[in-house]
Amino acid sequence: MAGQSDPHQSLFSAEEVEFIAEDETVEIIPNLRMDALNFICGDFGPFFPQIATQVPLWLAVALKKRGKCTIRPPQWMSVEKLTQVLEAERDSQRMFEQLPFHYVEISRLLFDHARDDIPDVYMARSLIEDIRDVRFHKVETNLETLTERAFALKINNLSAMEVNIVRPFVGRALQAFYKHDSLELIPDQERVSDRRPQVANNATRRHLRR
């Protein structure tokens, strides 16, 4: 496979994530008459000219390349919606806006193959780039909070591509933190300050039970 990932670096390469994203559905308006298509993932069609229908992205791109349909860009890709999202992203330091899980890949595929179907294509494109940059910067500031006490990090609404970029780094960093915090290296005396509140908690719990 052409875009196969290096097994030591990360679980998926960008091309593989794009491949997964191609299963998301989009709305197309076909200009041909065709019977329904029966796939393992479901049945799509039948297709009639000028009647909108939902198909997977890969099928939409394939039809588009042959000039058999126009793709209707999804709701979230309109300029107004993207401007709103960008402003919200800039306003809050911690929260991530809700966007489709594969927004980076879907937008790239549509910008590559269906430029003429998207209104304000340049504007939409630069807005998505900006959103991505703002979000990635926020991911980095979130990662700064990783310490030996934080064994996990919860970030809501992170998209597939963003996770994929930071995955190798975060995995290794967490592993290193875990290793250096292990019991053999940090003797118990050093942890006394951390243990004490726990003991206090147990005592109160017992007390309550009586």
Binding site: F136, N164, E190
Partner: protein
């Protein structure tokens, strides 16, 4: 034995440790300063870690704390860990620290490693995803091997993503295609 074939682990074992002999050893040329081929009791010799470890298991030597974990380095790390050149002191600072901490019986090595990594990690994080050229950073020369691995993991995933975003050839042509068939006659 999980790390038996790990090259970094083997190199870590080569780090030099200074030991004091508690038993006399005959017929070995491991002490360059002695005139005969034997080692006196109480002589101080620098040995690679793997040998020192084995000898200590047989209670023939006692290990001293290596220079990269002494008081001076400790104070430097406490002062400003991000700027300390750990690579020149010990390229596998963390791995070596983990190996030697239980053997020399100094309880402060573990916390020292953790605090050093914690503060240096942030520096690696902020530089790794943003640096334009992977090799151009002066910052890289002071990182230990473990930190360099971390840095490169972030760097390569970021460049892979940028390459994908820029596009380029979407399909790679299989090498068997496009080759002209040789005429047989």
């Amino acid at each position: 034995m999980a790390k038996f074939y790990d090259m970094d682990d083997i190199i870590t074992d080569e780090e030099v440790v200074s030991v004091v002999f508690e038993k006399a050893a005959c017929g070995v040329g491991i002490d360059p300063s002695s005139e005969t081929d034997s080692v006196e009791v109480g002589s101080k010799v620098e040995l690679p870690f793997w040998l020192a470890h084995e000898l200590q298991l047989r209670q023939a030597v006692s290990m001293n704390v290596p220079t990269c974990f002494n008081q001076k380095t400790r104070l430097e790390i406490q002062a400003d860990s991000a700027c300390v050149d750990l690579r020149s002191r010990c390229p596998f600072f963390y791995e070596f620290g983990c190996k030697i901490a239980p053997l020399v019986g100094v309880r402060t090595i573990g916390p020292l490693l953790l605090s050093a990594f914690k503060s240096r990690y942030k520096e690696v994080l902020t530089k790794a995803h943003t640096a334009a050229f992977p090799a151009a950073s002066k910052h890289l020369t002071i990182l230990t091997k473990e930190e360099t691995n971390l840095y490169e993991a972030a760097q390569s995933s970021m460049t892979a993503f940028k390459r994908w975003r820029m596009g380029g050839p979407r399909f790679q042509r299989a090498s068997v295609l496009g080759r002209k068939r040789k005429s047989t006659d």
